[in-house]
């Protein structure tokens, strides 16, 4: 017995529409509430936490698509991957923009100092830049043009996800339970790809042993 899922064209359109609606609608609602001071004692902190955790959620979701596709032998899941990845960057963008606009309130010198001096911000910034590169090369045109380099560039999603996890656990004061849950989820998702992730290591090992 095998489970099979098959989406019709319209179901895919509908699901994609739902992703757009949720991702855009939620952000709009939260920013509207924050702007009108209806988001608790410290709307700046609330917005930073919301955008940060949402970006991570979406990143993990995008990494769930190909294991799902394999599990259900249904390649259609891959059709949601780019959209989820783009929204992960959308929230990461809001996260950094909110940090600069509302936390630092446009003190650019402070931003530079924070990126250099605060390891968890350095790490977050590095992840952000990777996600930016992936976003800019997410079009089919870029994919065609870059051919094989496209895949190697987009494999950087794995180090980016690890950096995001590190940024998260490093940023909390002492309540590491939730970051640990996220790290566990990421570990599971990377576990599905262990062959792929270990391939370069194995290749090097083989090269080393064969040169004896």
């Amino acid at each position: 017995m095998s489970l099979r899922i098959r989406f019709s064209h319209w179901q895919i359109v509908l699901l994609k529409g739902l992703i757009h609606l949720l991702c855009l609608g939620w952000a709009t609602l939260v920013y509207w509430r924050a702007a009108s001071d209806q988001l608790g004692g410290d709307p700046v902190e609330a917005v930073l936490h919301f955008t940060g955790i949402s970006a991570f959620n979406l990143l993990l979701l995008s990494l769930t698509m190909s294991p799902l596709a394999k599990m259900f032998k249904q390649g259609q899941f891959i059709r949601f991957r780019r959209l989820l990845g783009l929204y992960a960057f959308f929230y990461a963008f809001l996260h950094l923009a909110s940090f600069i606009l509302f936390e630092l309130q446009l003190e650019w010198r402070m931003l530079l100092a924070e990126i250099i001096e605060r390891p968890y911000i350095t790490v977050g910034m590095a992840a952000w830049l990777i996600l930016l590169a992936l976003t800019l090369t997410s079009t089919q045109a870029a994919q065609r043009k870059m051919v094989r380099r496209w895949q190697s560039l987009h494999n950087w999603i794995y180090p980016a996800a690890a950096l995001v996890a590190l940024h998260y656990i490093w940023s909390v004061k002492s309540d590491i339970v939730q970051p640990l849950i996220y790290i566990a989820m990421l570990a599971i998702l990377l576990g599905f790809r262990k062959d792929k992730l270990l391939r370069p290591v194995k290749r090097r090992y083989r090269a080393l042993t064969s040169s004896d």
């Binding site: 924050a34 001071d37 209806q38 608790g40 004692g41 410290d42 955790i53 979701l61 769930t64 402070m110």
Partner: protein, 331 residues
């Protein structure tokens, strides 16, 4: 979708949060934290149940009689923010957790004991807390180590008044404070998923001269009423020139000692939190800057509220306590 009709007269109050919306935000925040993450649900379950539950009635506070403070030019942090944005890990680590989880906290009966190196140990019951000394209002800045701050009208009395009644022995050099340990009421205390990995009960300490300083108060109220549980009912310490975590909440014991007592955050991360924890813009937290702070007042995301942090939180009169000390080393 809820549509709320308002009277024209209500429009002027645009800065004031409608209570219904205000309560709803908790549900909203919980939902969005777990947005889309179907895999996440281990820790979400407890919260998810809450989505459908009614909020419990708020803890009942009552008005206090006290000597009002002089007018201040400082803009006060609105009461709704003072009582909804709290770090009190005994009730959970999110800022809104204490308000959400502490409303049925029992403050009666309460016992506060002052002992250790004193001639005259003192026991105070709940009612005694409000009669230990004449109550007065103190409007203080509270600077959190997380680089945000509030301006809060406390009601209380100087700690020195109480300590003098207990008559400290000449050997007493430090004062140790302890929060109630009652995991039944404070679920974070024996639940590692809620309590932030702290070894409870929460303890704090001051040097005796710091404790005797007239700025140091025990607070039993804010905004003219008794303290709500999330702010440390029924009695808490307020030391306005130190980071907020020094101002220990819901105190059951004050002990005079001859040795520097252990303090909770220092035990947890000694390189990040010192015993003194004086507000100091020149000594950064290892992971973030302490040079500036966000002052929480009225206004949302676009409130221009970033200000310079001042040494000793602007309470220069305490500087003599630390003359000759290297504040970078004794952070």
């Amino acid at each position: 979708m809820r549509i709320k009709l308002t009277q024209p007269s209500e429009l002027k109050e645009s800065q004031v949060t409608d209570e219904a919306i205000y309560r709803d935000r908790r549900r909203l925040l919980k939902q969005m934290g777990f947005m889309g993450a179907g895999a996440l649900l281990a820790s979400a379950q407890a919260r998810a149940i809450n989505l459908f539950g009614e909020d419990k009635p708020d803890f009942q506070t009552r008005s206090l009689e006290y000597q009002a403070a002089n007018q201040t030019e400082q803009v006060l942090t609105p009461e709704t923010k003072v009582i909804s944005h709290n770090n009190f890990y005994e009730f959970g680590t999110d800022k809104t957790d204490p308000r959400d989880n502490a409303q049925d906290f029992q403050v009666q009966p309460w016992k506060l004991r002052i002992d250790g190196l004193v001639e005259q140990p003192i026991n105070l019951d709940y009612d005694d807390l409000f009669k230990a000394a004449p109550l007065e209002e103190r409007i203080y800045r509270l600077r959190c180590v997380e680089a945000w701050s509030m301006v809060i009208p406390w009601v209380g009395f100087e700690l020195a008044t109480l300590l003098k009644k207990a008559k400290p022995l000449s050997s007493a050099r430090y004062v140790a404070f302890e929060t109630l340990y009652d995991p039944k009421q404070m679920p974070g205390q024996n639940n590692p998923f809620m309590g932030g990995g702290i070894d409870y009960p929460y303890v704090e300490g001051l040097r005796l001269d710091e404790a005797m300083h007239p700025l140091t108060i025990l607070s039993v109220g804010l905004y003219g009423k008794t303290l709500p549980p999330q702010n440390g009912a029924p009695i808490r310490l307020v030391v306005p020139w130190k980071y907020g975590f020094k101002s220990i909440k819901s105190i059951v014991r004050i002990r005079l000692t001859d040795k520097q007592p252990p303090t909770t955050w220092n035990q947890l991360a000694a390189n990040e939190y010192g015993f003194y924890a004086n507000v100091n813009p020149n000594v950064d937290h290892p992971r973030w800057s302490q040079a500036r702070e966000r002052r929480i007042t009225k206004g949302g995301l676009f409130a221009d509220n970033r200000i310079d942090t001042q040494l000793f939180n602007g309470y220069d009169e305490v500087a003599p306590l630390y003359s000759g000390m290297d504040l970078k080393r004794h952070y």
